[in-house]
């Protein structure tokens, strides 16, 4: 449980070009070990989501490298990349991204459907995941008819249904009230503690970050010490 699953070296990411060019990441080097729970903390616009998307191989860096299980991510393409995304990663995005007009069960089964798991097995695994999140009774409801907290739990069920090794969560409690947020936090850390799933949480919430085993602070696209995060920014901070 101590190997490095994810590491980055001198990651940079630019958006746009010419005068509209914006450097969202300016040389980020981090290592994440198997079974860790890491919080990526920073103000809005500091590049947290950008970093997470690159770590999760959803986006490619402008320069620098990402290594997954010792493999250079730049070399992962096509079917191998898709399998990795499908089997190794689980996502909880900043928004819920539930498919409207389909049932909770269908939403949770989506990763399994993509993984070509048979209908019966798919249903069993999805119901199991919903059970873990105490949502069994909502399986047949329309995803859009749920409350915010319930939706976030559905999203987590979807993230863990195919038993991933790493769960990426972008502001998992951002849309929730404190009480519901706490429930969701408990769930995520429980998965980390009991199942050894590596957790990468993006947040600007210090309290949530404090529960993680390690924190990575970002400011203006750079990794900084905890103390520097709240220091007055030298450059304009993106919205």
């Amino acid at each position: 449980m101590t190997g490095t699953v994810l590491s980055t070296r001198n990651l940079t990411k630019q958006y746009g070009s010419g005068s509209a060019r914006f450097d969202a990441l300016k040389g980020v080097s981090i290592d994440i070990a198997e079974g860790e729970s890491v919080a990526i903390v920073g103000k809005s616009g500091s590049g947290k989501s950008t970093l997470m998307h690159i770590l999760a191989l959803l986006d490619t860096p402008s320069s620098g490298e990402v290594t997954v299980d010792g493999t250079d991510a730049a070399k992962l393409r096509g079917a191998r990349l898709n399998t990795l995304r499908n089997r190794t990663f689980g996502f909880v995005f900043q928004q819920f991204f539930l498919t409207p007009n389909t049932s909770v069960l269908d939403n949770v089964m989506l990763p399994l459907k993509i993984a070509r798991i048979g209908g019966r097995e798919r249903k069993r695994l999805a119901l199991e995941a919903l059970e873990t999140l105490e949502l069994s009774d909502k399986a047949r409801s329309k995803a859009t008819d749920l409350s915010g907290g319930q939706k976030q739990r559905v999203v987590i069920a979807r993230a863990l249904v195919n038993n991933p090794r790493i769960i990426f969560a972008d502001e998992p409690t951002g849309n929730l009230d404190t009480a519901t947020g706490a429930v969701v936090e408990d769930l995520l850390f429980e998965l980390n503690a009991k199942q050894g799933i590596t957790l990468v949480i993006v947040t600007h919430d210090e309290e949530l970050a404090a529960r993680a085993s390690r924190r990575i602070y970002l400011r203006d696209g750079r990794v900084v010490d905890a103390a520097d995060v709240h220091a007055p920014a030298g450059t304009a901070v993106g919205a």
């Binding site: 986006d59 079917a79 499908n86 996502f91 995005f93 991204f97 459907k113 993509i114 070509r116």
Partner: protein
């Protein structure tokens, strides 16, 4: 995703925006409906012509005429010469003038390579036909060579090679002559009156073997060869021995198994000998070409409607892709390949195409069946056996496949746009 999951998901997706799908389906429905109807019309008419083909003449018969040289037809009548050829109208193409055939012509035609037998088309002018004592009615009939199949409402074809005198009458004669039904008429003996060259009227008895359905080309009483000969002989009685017989045309028989090119060879040989030969296929052929042309134009309209519907599909799918940008991003983030995203959207289009064309073809078949039946009882009552709209499984399958093909082509642009989307751009999309 498995193929079956792609299919069910695509079907599910198409029902998610019901109004939009419905409107697109209606557009396709209109095109598919029209195409099915026009196709059905083509099939119906052509099938009918095929059945009629047998009734106007057998495949092994060539009608031979002697055309007037081209220069003489445009410069008015030729000067009369005592032993020169006589012009007769009819026998060839409508309106054209042909020269009468003499006995020496008949012999010459018989010697043309490929012609197995030849018989002159004799003009028989009968006076009347009568059944029992139910009154005398005018009769103008055509002699039919052996092997001609007539579409019958009752009875049977001429007995081949028989010496007994046989006649087939159209349905319109049955009532008039005093029979109670078509079936009742079969096997009865009728009397035919004919005036000979000396001006005396004689009669002949013939057996009514069959009753003919009305056809596209009208219906005429037909005599079997034995009856034709007997009547012709009766008509000739009293004719001066010196009189030469002339005929408007002759019927040449060829090998019934002759191939198209062999038939063409015989026709070419006839032309070389100074005659013109037309087969039944030639006569039907021109008719069918016209029908096919009309159907083609009608089909073109239907295809235009379908192309318009194709743009409807493109539009629907583009909106669908736009609407589901995030969903696409999510599926990609979860490891769904671009190829499968493409498959998902193109399947949706093909399904919409299937829905529209299946409903269109289905309703067209129902409506077509009703129209056919109504017309068969009303306007087209006299043309027994004409199913004006006829649907074959293969033409329905063609319509379905064509529409689904158009739908697939229409899906290429939106679906490949969806497939190319990067997961992160889609997820950031507002």
């Amino acid at each position: 995703m498995k193929a079956i999951d792609i299919l069910t998901t695509a079907i599910g997706n198409s029902f998610r925006s019901r109004l939009r799908t419905t409107l697109t389906v209606i557009a396709i429905f209109i095109g598919a409906f029209t195409l099915t109807i026009t196709n059905g019309l083509g099939t119906g008419i052509n099938q009918y012509i095929d059945t009629q083909l047998a009734s106007i003449g057998a495949a092994d018969i060539v009608t031979v005429t002697k055309p007037v040289a081209a220069t003489t037809t445009t410069t008015g009548p030729k000067p009369y010469t005592a032993n020169g050829p006589t012009e007769v109208s009819g026998g060839g193409a409508p309106g054209s003038t042909v020269l009468a055939l003499t006995d020496s012509d008949i012999t010459a035609i018989g010697k043309v390579a490929g012609v197995t037998a030849v018989e002159p088309q004799v003009a028989i002018r009968t006076d009347y036909i009568e059944y029992g004592t139910n009154g005398k009615f005018q009769l103008s009939a055509v002699g039919e060579g052996a092997g001609v199949r007539i579409q019958l409402a009752a009875g049977s074809q001429f007995t081949s090679g028989t010496t007994s005198l046989e006649i087939i009458l159209p349905t319109s004669y049955i009532d008039t002559l005093g029979f109670s039904s078509n079936k009742d008429a079969v096997g009865k003996t009728v009397t035919i009156g004919i005036t000979n060259a000396a001006g005396e009227q004689t009669t002949l008895d013939a057996t009514l073997v069959g009753v003919q359905d009305a056809t596209l080309f009208g219906a005429n009483p037909s005599f079997n060869p034995a009856l034709s000969t007997a009547l012709y002989d009766a008509q000739k009685v009293g004719q001066p021995a010196t009189a030469t017989s002339t005929y408007s045309s002759a019927t040449a028989h060829i090998d019934p198994n002759a191939t198209k090119s062999q038939v063409a060879d015989v026709k070419a040989a006839l032309v070389d000998a100074g005659y013109a030969g037309t087969t039944v296929a030639d006569r039907i052929g021109t008719f069918q070409t016209v029908i096919d042309g009309i159907i083609l134009v009608l089909n073109a309209f239907a295809i235009i409607a379908l192309l318009a519907a194709g743009f409807g599909i493109i539009n629907t799918l583009l909106m669908s892709v736009q609407e589901r940008t995030r969903e696409i991003g999510l599926m990609k983030a979860m490891g769904m390949s671009g190829g499968r995203i493409f498959a998902l959207f193109s399947t949706e289009a093909v399904f919409i195409g299937f829905l529209g064309s299946a409903i269109g073809a289905g309703i067209a078949m129902l409506v077509g069946g009703v129209i056919s039946r109504v017309l068969a009882r009303g306007l087209l009552k006299d043309l027994a056996g004409l199913q004006i709209l006829s649907f074959t499984p293969s033409s329905i399958a063609t319509v379905l496949l064509l529409v689904m093909g158009i739908a697939f082509v229409a899906a290429v642009l939106p679906a490949s746009r969806a497939a190319r989307q990067s997961p992160i751009d889609s997820l950031r999309y507002e």
